[in-house]
Amino acid sequence: MHRIILTHLNKIFRFYYDGFRGMTYGKKLWIIILIKLFVLFFILKLFFFQDFLDSKFDTDQEKSNYVIEQLTK
């Protein structure tokens, strides 16, 4: 049983490994994807897009009080 699982895992690994190694124009695309994800999550999200309510309040009650206050001003 153990060997069967290992064989299958190895097959899956080889499938992806060979697939990535055999890429031609796909390599360029992966570089673009990785740069894009880095810019989105490590620059934009961290420095420009913090969640407004999470950054100001700790609890849901505080958040809802604030929103109601904003909506009924």
Binding site: F15, Y16, D18, G19, F20, G22, M23, T24, Y25, G26, K28, L29, W30, I32, I33, K36, L37, V39, L40, L44, K45, F48, F49, Q50, D51, F52, L53, D54, D60, K63, S64, N65, V67, I68, Q70, L71, T72, K73
Partner: protein, 513 residues
């Protein structure tokens, strides 16, 4: 609302529009090309002819480029919800949570697992399993679009929820009502089908280029047969869903319907303006034009389009603003009054809770719940501010429809000349096919412009206008990120076009993935 910074509202809207429109540059091609590739591969598996494998591989390559460049561009919209639109985000949190979570888990894993088989699996898995993977990628991509379109449809027609004044959130009461509301069903079908038409035109345009260059003629013509057939059926379905959408808009968003027709005074036997030019407004206080400089009308068509009866009354902008008791239309003045009552009642409810005044709490809640359907109107004093931009709504609708007719005719003409085996000689038609590719994007974006500009000022129809949805953040930071996004998306678009053109020029004989 006091001290609303309209500059902040406008910049936040501009930023959202920019990101949504750029995101939509990538999405429709993915939605449609995935199905076209799956159809081509099905023909390959059925016939066993290597030419069809070559065709499948080439379009799969272009699908992969578009998918890779476009993937995760939509995540920026979610960033913006939390940062720029926090009141809105909180207000709708529970409704959006479920559809978007399902999107993340189900569709993403379906796509990302089977897309690997699609690209890496040739000669490693059986032909049938590979074909199944291609179809699952197509369905996965479309399923992914389903959930975000359901969320958008809920904003246009909020159903299946109840507002909880203790948490300030709308809570889902009936998931199926949200998922299967006529607005959601129509929006999904109409939007994804527009993607199929766009992808079909893309395949036609690229194939036409090969024919003009006298390269890969068999490949190009076979691709065009699949694309034009798929595109023609999609266009016909698009007409049906568009017609359904118009009827829903007439009922659920009558102001949007009146704006897209520039109809100020309602009438029975209302004609449809097939082609029209609006006069430039003279009064800067009223920027929406009220008269036509030129128009060609189809008698009774608007009444029929809205209510399936040529005699039906179609309310105009003035009927909605001033009310029309004969037609049982409540005026915006009355809606504003009711909205203000709802806002005040919510305020009283919260203060009664604090002071422990149970009687006032109960009474306020009753008033609030009675008038909640008009809650958003309470933020306005002047009903003119509740009229969307008429020229943008009017022209975007016509651009979408006129181009849609052009696409349908083009598919038919291409199929006719393919059948007559004369297509490669029709140079003008090949050029029209190439030049129609950007028109497909314009039509698709025009559809979204109509949907979103036409429903202004609402973020959530009747309940929340944009001015009460924004976060109180620094306007400068929104401006900075607007230009950052403009730069990032433009770079991605240039990269997409450059890589695509390189691969197209190489043609279908160059393998690899």
């Amino acid at each position: 609302m006091e001290n609303i910074d309209l500059g902040l509202v406008d910049w936040s809207r501009a930023q959202f529009a920019l990101t949504a429109m750029y995101h939509w540059v990538f999405v429709p091609l993915t939605l449609g090309l995935a199905f076209i590739v799956a159809i081509m591969e099905s023909i390959y598996v059925k016939t066993g002819k290597e030419e069809w494998k070559k065709i499948t591989l080439f379009w799969m390559k272009l699908f992969g480029i578009n998918f890779a460049i476009g993937v995760a561009t939509g995540i920026i919209l979610e960033f913006e919800f939390g940062t720029n639109w926090s009141n809105y985000s909180w207000f709708v949190g529970d409704i959006f949570g479920a559809p978007l979570a399902i999107e993340g888990i189900m569709a993403f894993f379906l796509e990302s697992t089977f897309i690997a088989v699609m690209f890496f699996g040739w000669n490693k898995v059986s032909k049938k399993f590979h074909l199944l993977s291609s179809w699952l990628v197509a369905f996965g991509a479309n399923l992914s679009a389903l959930w975000i379109l359901v969320a958008n449809a809920w904003m246009q027609n909020p159903v299946g929820m109840r507002f909880n004044p203790d948490t300030a959130r709308n809570e889902m009461e009936n998931f199926w009502e949200v998922l299967l509301s006529p607005t959601a069903v129509n929006k999904f079908l109409h939007t994804v089908t527009s993607g199929y038409v766009l992808a079909a035109l893309f395949v036609l345009g690229v194939s036409a280029w090969f024919l003009l260059k006298k390269r890969e003629q068999l490949f190009a013509k076979r691709s065009m047969v699949v694309a034009a057939t798929f595109g023609l059926f999609s266009t016909l379905f698009l007409v049906v869903t568009g017609d359904e959408s118009a009827r829903h808009i007439a009922t659920i968003q009558p102001m949007k319907f009146a704006a897209m027709e520039a109809l100020y005074d309602g009438q029975n036997n209302a004609p449809l303006v097939a082609i029209g030019i609006l006069e430039l407004p003279q009064d800067p206080e009223h920027p929406n034009p009220r008269e036509f400089a030129y128009k060609i009308e189809i008698p009774n068509m608007l009444s029929y389009m809205a209510f399936l009866s040529p005699r039906a009354f179609v309310p105009g902008i003035n009927d909605l603003i001033n009310g029309n008791p004969e037609k049982e239309i409540i005026s915006y003045y009355e809606k504003i009054r009711r909205g203000k009552l709802a806002i005040q009642a919510l305020k009283n409810y919260k203060s009664a809770q604090k002071s422990g005044d149970a009687a006032l709490e109960e009474e306020s809640l009753k008033i609030f719940e009675t008038h909640y359907p008009y809650f958003g109107y309470g933020y306005y004093d002047n009903p003119d501010k509740l009229i969307p931009n008429v020229p943008i709504s009017f022209y975007s609708f016509r651009i979408m429809v006129i181009l849609g007719v052009h696409f349908g005719i083009l598919f038919m003409v291409i199929l006719y000349f393919l059948y007559k085996r004369k297509l490669e000689k029709m140079k003008w038609l090949l050029w029209v096919s190439i030049l129609t590719v950007p028109l497909a994007y314009i039509a698709s974006e025009a559809g979204w412009v109509l949907a979103e500009v036409g429903r202004q000022p609402w973020v959530i129809q009747d309940l929340m206008p944009t001015l009460s949805a924004v976060s109180k953040i620094d306007q400068t930071s929104v401006q900075i990120t607007f230009w950052l996004f403009a730069a990032i998306f433009t770079t991605l678009l240039i990269a997409e076009i450059k890589i695509m053109l390189t691969q197209i020029k190489k043609g279908p004989n160059e393998g690899g993935h």
